[in-house]
Amino acid sequence: MRADPISLGGGWQRRERTLSILVVGIFALVLLRLFTLQVLQGSKYRELSEENRIRVEVLTAPRGEIRDRKGRLLADCVPSFTVTLDPFDKVYTRDPARLDSTLQALAPILGVDAASLRDKIRKERKVSFLPIRLRRNVEKRSVAFVSEHLDRLPGVQVESEPLRRYPLGLMASHLLGYVGEISDKELLDPVYSNYLSGDLIGRMGIERGYEKLLRGVDGKRFVEVNALGRKGEFLGEKHPILPTRGTDLTLTIDLDVQRAAEEAFEPGARGAVVALDPRNGDVLALASKPNYDPNEFSMGITQERWSELSSGGNYPLFNRAIQAAYPPGSTIKPFTALAGLENGVMTPGTFFAQSCTGEFRFGTRLFGCWKHEGHGSLSMHNAIVRSCDVYFYQLGIRIGLERLSAFMSKLTLSDKTGIDLPQERRGLYPDPAWYDKRFGAGRWSRGIILNLAIGQGEVILTPVKLAQIAAFIANGGTLWKPHLIRSVGSTAAAASGDSIGQYVALDARSLAAVRSAMASVVSDPQGTGGQARLDSISVAGKTGTAQNPHGKDHALFICFAPVDAPRIAVAVLVENAGHGSTAAAPIARKVLQSFFHPAPPESAAVLAKR
């Protein structure tokens, strides 16, 4: 070897020494570690590798609790048992046929057929370190049986897991949603990269919309298992990672109002109620009928039952409050009137040329008023009070489709309300461009304006949108984004802090005129909304009866109260129930009653216990 020449880098010699010492140090550490693992602790690891198996036990985080605005429990978690199987147990890696016999033995105990268990294992066995959940919420008797026979069921474990519980059953099911196992399709989506096959995920409602907060973070612990079952915790250098509970949510919902809304429907009726606080957009109640019991899903629902719920007759899973849009019928009239006032085509005192004779001729077509004997000559005020169609036909013609649809678009009628629930659909208030696209430019009748002015024809709105615009009249011009969260966790975020509203500047006199007419709808003996009247509180409202080509008319009612300083705005829809005045207004009355005169606390306590 020739001698190294003097280096030119300036001090490279010293640098070589320093760096070499560092490198030798790094490798010395490796050797030391290898010595510890292989020589000092080698026999322990050899035993582990031959006899036992280290497995991950997931410590499922309980989901956050959901409560109403007064702290009453709507959803929590209770302990339950899950039976799991580790398909990588040494018994099975040596003799795969054993797996079948284990499943055959387990299937009848768990009440599931062996073929579906086999499918599940084939699908989920990719991740070798996690046992597969065979069945959640296993009955105590079966748990006892399985526990006694663990020695003959290799790889099988009984684990404790939190079970989602909805103590009030059917109550508020649509707004709460439910939980179910994550689907294969979702698992492929990077959004759900921190989920594993078999994990629960929120479906619909708050459970879905606030999944990230509610879910919490699962913990894990390593356990050592041998042929006889669990041997104990594996003491690695890391302690078990404890699960972090999901975040609790307090909703803006008032359980009293929610209950009144749900109980106000006849058994078997279909419809929806949305109640908002017009001062900030808090959702006080959001009900859809018929409802379902979300507990069924937590307990592990069968495929047949699921199809029954999702498609059977009345579509109970369908949230009519936000997913269904209906023609608003006459509940649109206060807004048509506002459009007229704002566009200056009339004043609150304006009488139109033609008095109501029960029908109205437009071109060659005859348009009827719902009251066949006619209303006679009416001012705007009385036209709203008595819901005269002929008056609004004439008003619609005067405003014209262009201006009317422009006004409605200012009130965001064709947009979603933006409520913090998934799957809200949008309504529609068509404009000329829409008709051009639908029927071809100019190939549609000018008569459509008559229908739109009274809320028939192509206009459709969701109940939550109706509640939002009822609140808009109540508060004098603010379209609140309805929201369901009052506070997250222990941070008592002020309800108003989360309120997002859009102010639409209207002439205060126009609003006052419409408000006063709506008050008379309920208070005036000739008004159509008398059935929503309360003894102590003044109520303003508007009835609606929407023609329905598929059956009996839908009944609608929007209202707010007290008239002078509104604290609640309500929209009621009952499918195929006939008149709004007789089928929807009484429901609104019960809702208002529950809000202003809540049930005494004793009964509330009883309910919370149930």
Binding site: E16, N194, T247
Partner: protein, 409 residues
């Protein structure tokens, strides 16, 4: 590689350790994929042999061309190609294990980050070889830092935290070799240490005090002093503030990023299984092909990232020790070659290539024995994978290139 007979200055220990490690690698790729449960992987060792032929050709080629050719303009060109491939990967790359790391034409798939590392070293060496610049001047450091930061960020975006940090390791090693006082390197790391400590106020205060003492003792100039103090104070105070203002989902994103999230349940488990595999090998191992832990397929990456645990299980302390010693030899020879080179570019080139080996071997082996977190870096020369093997031979080829021509200025 050029035959030793014709090039007496070729570094033989380096050559022998490289070839031995590669052969051991093929043997253990064969072993790790030989179980009945991994039918689809049975032919992988043959593919590795083909990669080896390619790698030897590439290494010999890059060693044959006098290394001075790579200096200057060529280095910029190589760097630009490396960056271009990285950018392309972000747009049209193949997704594997939740990250976009691969670039492919038909059946050929390459991992551009492996080549980008080599290209970055060449450019840094070319730049730092400039004798006219005083590398203790802060303003002179802007370019080298930038050159390392661009690929760092591009790889980080994939996301591949482990590989991206390699660029930082390369930069620091080369700056040190170029003459930057170790104290400066320490100051460059302080803001990162600061971020980590800023949530623990007593620790943070102790750290600041320590920093103040070192700064005072070091008697550095006023401007850099103010810069270090300013950045550290800012980072330390701002980090918790920013953190507290993040939405929960943003925080979650950051924590899952720092702690490889896709494998939230698996990461700790893999380390335990790797330790059981290595530990159960005891002194002499269970014998080649006789590992029992690997048979259970606990470690999905046992022929790539966790190959060292198969070595440990089947050949015990003796085999794992020999492999570690071969790496030690390879790296020490690399440093020796860098030291002996008369040309500054050559020395920097050799040390840079060596630093890539050092970083990868360190992170990978420390991971398999449970001294470092799971990062998903391959073990150079041993792990299955064409890109990594070719890149390793390019690195060795360049080191040999410098070794053969150490006399040249």
């Amino acid at each position: 590689m050029i035959s030793p007979r014709f090039s007496p200055d070729i570094d033989r220990p380096l050559l022998i350790s490289t070839l031995l490690l590669t052969l051991i690698g093929i043997a253990f790729v064969f072993s790790a994929t030989s179980m009945p449960s991994s039918v689809t992987e049975h032919g992988l060792y043959l593919k590795q042999v083909i990669y080896l032929v390619l790698a030897i050709l590439a290494g010999a080629l890059i060693a044959a061309v006098p290394y001075r050719v790579y200096e200057g303009k060529t280095s910029y060109l190589l760097y630009a190609i490396g960056l271009g491939l990285l950018v392309l990967t972000l747009f049209i790359g193949h997704v594997g294990l939740g990250a976009q790391r691969w670039l492919g034409w038909g059946p050929i798939k390459i991992q551009p980050s492996e080549l980008a590392k080599v290209a970055t070293v060449i450019l840094l060496a070319s730049l730092l070889a400039d004798r006219k610049k005083d590398w203790t001047q802060i303003r002179n450091l802007v370019w080298p830092v930038l050159i390392a930061m661009i690929p760092f960020l591009l790889v980080l975006k994939q996301p591949d935290l482990g590989t991206s940090i390699a660029f930082v390791a390369i930069l620091f090693t080369m700056l040190y070799w170029a003459g930057l006082p170790i104290l400066y390197l320490f100051f460059m790391i302080t803001p990162i240490a600061n971020v980590a400590l800023s949530f623990f106020t007593p620790g943070w205060l102790v750290f600041l005090g320590l920093l103040a003492v070192i700064l005072y003792r070091s008697r550095i100039r006023l401007l850099p002093l103010l810069l270090v103090v300013g950045i550290n104070l800012f980072v330390g105070i701002a980090t918790p503030q920013i953190w507290n203002h993040l939405q929960p989902y943003q925080k979650q994103r950051i924590t899952t990023f720092l702690d490889p999230g896709a494998d939230a349940y698996g990461a700790g488990y893999q380390i335990i299984q790797s330790k059981i595999a290595i530990g159960s090998g005891q002194f002499f191992g269970k014998g080649f092909l006789h590992g029992s832990q690997k048979a259970l397929a606990f470690l999905p990456e046992q022929h790539t990232d966790f190959i060292y645990s198969v070595v440990g299980e089947e050949t015990g302390f003796v085999g794992a020790g020999i492999v570690a010693a071969l790496y030690l030899l390879l790296i020490l020879r690399g440093i020796r070659v860098a030291n002996r080179a008369r040309n500054k570019f050559g020395g920097l080139l050799a040390i840079g290539m060596t630093s890539i080996f050092l970083y990868h071997v360190l992170v990978n082996i420390w991971m398999t024995v449970g001294l470092a977190p799971v990062t998903g870096l391959p073990l150079p020369l041993l792990s299955y994978g064409g890109s990594s093997l070719v890149a390793s031979f390019l690195q060795v080829g360049l080191i040999q290139n410098v070794a053969m021509r150490w006399r040249e200025y």
